[in-house]
Amino acid sequence: MFLGGALGSIARFSIFLGVEQAGVTAVAIELVATSIVNLAGAGFLGFVHSKSFKESEKAKAFWGSGFAGGFTTISGLALITAGSGLGLSELGYLYWLMVILQFALGILAYWFINSRFDRAKESVN
């Protein structure tokens, strides 16, 4: 669990650094990087929870609660909306809209990947 979380957090940090290299503004970095990690992480957890993934509880804890949990973040989203003041600004509705969209897409990503890999396993069997 600890190692999975550490690895996931470092991977998230690396993506933030990678987006920062692109030379965009601080808020755009947070928004783009947070969207990438959250949607990819939700989809990955869908795979970990699918029938195609290993049965081992240890592997599920490492890659699920550990890696995917450490990789994704909601405090980062809170920083974008509330911390930067964007959520309360004149254009705040745009940021709230993007965050709400990210919530909906995250649940869809989890469902999509999970159901795909469940079906893949069933067709093999």
Binding site: F13, G69, A78, F103, Y110
Partner: protein, 115 residues
């Protein structure tokens, strides 16, 4: 832009504190009832912590990206919301989404303005 030393120190700090945050989340996350309260609590506490770090002028990579990032999670929130939808509790899934959207943001605002 981080220097070489700051980058290595940052990666190590993010790894260690992110791991600690994930272990704490794992235990807090077992608290569940009408809603998955544990993950909501972890996300709210992480946002409070991130807000306090910013408010006190030490926007530390280790605290915000490491500890708060490791403690909070989006993927488990998505999984739990999907589970609520698939088990027929759509209203609870909506409530869980609204709570995970507003309470962490509110916690962060409280930290920024009061702490």
């Amino acid at each position: 832009m981080l220097t070489g030393f700051e980058l290595v120190a940052g990666v190590l700090a993010v790894g260690v504190l992110g791991g600690v945050g994930s272990v704490v989340r794992h235990f807090v996350g077992t608290w569940s009832g009408f809603l998955p309260w544990g993950i909501l609590a972890a996300n709210s506490i992480a946002s409070l912590l991130a807000g306090a770090s910013v408010a006190n002028g030490f926007y530390e990579i280790a605290l915000v990206i490491g500890l708060a990032g490791g403690l909070s999670t989006f993927s488990t929130f998505a999984a739990q919301s999907y589970e609520l939808i698939s088990s027929g509790h759509r209203a609870r899934a909506v409530l869980n989404s609204v709570a995970n959207l507003l309470i962490p943001a509110g916690s962060l605002l409280i930290a920024v303005n009061i702490l």
